[in-house]
């Protein structure tokens, strides 16, 4: 698990892999963006969905 709480997440951006996309999550602690699958069964993805439910927005892919 990458994050203990949603307030450790700075931003979330989609990343286009050509045939699918996933999330690239930037932590507030200054660490590198981390790849998280868009699979609700993944506990890190569950944290992103919780972060979105709190009113935050996922950025579109470049």
């Amino acid at each position: 698990m990458l994050f203990n709480k949603t307030d450790e997440i700075k931003s979330v951006k989609k990343y286009d892999w050509g045939t699918y996309w996933n999330y690239q999550v930037t932590p507030k602690d200054g660490g590198n963006p981390k790849g998280v699958p868009n699979d609700p069964a993944n506990i890190d993805c569950q944290m992103i969905l919780e972060w979105v439910a709190e009113g935050n927005t996922i950025e579109d892919a470049d």
Binding site: M1, N4, Y15, P33, K34, G35, D39, A41
Partner: protein
Amino acid sequence: MTRASDTAKLLGAGGSILGSLDVGGGQIGGRRNIVINGAMGVAQRSASVTGLGDGDEGYVTLDRFRHTAAASAGRFTSAQTAISDLPGFLNCLHLDCTTADTSIAATELLVLEHRIEGQDLQQLKKGTSSAESITVSFYMKTNAEFVFMCVLNDFDNNRVNPQKFTTTTGWTRHSITFVGDTTGTINDDNALSLSVSIYLHAGSNFTGGTYAANTWQSRASSDNMIAPGIGSFYSSTDNDVKLTGLQMEVGSVATPFEHRSFGEELALCERYYEEGDMSVRSSVNTVARLAVQYRVEKRATPTFLVYYDSNKTTDGVVNRGNSELTGCAESATANFGNWEKNTGGNTDSADFAWYWTASAEL
């Protein structure tokens, strides 16, 4: 709690099996133990991690054993520790309190947890009129006598069943049978459905309610019935807890611990977490995208991270010609992990190497 009488019922002269093919309502054959890595042999991530306790630590040392915590002033080390004083077992999960916390806030919590997928629990027949009893057994040794709580936690239906037990300074096999629950079926899927949890420390949010032993109850709006009356692992830096031989099985009898080979346990663990290394020579300049196939298909799409080396110091960095290459993107499927560097030059014929982790934990 003694198992001698149960053994006598099952075994005849020379250890031959007598009677029906049924042990206290459970099965007698292999795969009795629903718990993975119960003998504490597999620790892919690390053999020891210090300074834990400032948040929800998750999985840090032994595979499949989650440290579920709410921040406390207390700190501890989690380690896979070799043991020589319990015949048949060579390793344990060892928690050592390194900073005490005797001013316990309401929200504080420290739980050792083993989480299980719903599709692996259908034999419990939970939520039906035929619901089976469940027996949890384990060996525990502590520096002093403690009262801790063993809890079955049904995440699909928000129901819990707590039972206290008392530790000793020697290895003691604790055997705790939970009544079958005729309320709340378990989902037949790959998601978290049930955990076996040992509550080692808890604030009043978890201790303020009324203890009802071996009773399935709704968590409702409060968790305060989960751990009333337990001791505190953080009460002194003298404290340590050693756990091994965790088994959960159908029925009302704790049968002898089901030992499995290291290879079997490792493969079972790798459904949830795996790590390894990889190297390759790339002949492209502007875009590098490389994939690794896991040894075992994951429970769900894992979080895939790449690192410079096996120290796993900083993720998102790989080794390109013995220099750090930053700015990598990572993605995964249930079978493959990928990393990509699609900005900046990657240098023709560059040698890439990296270490990777794939986590699909519950």
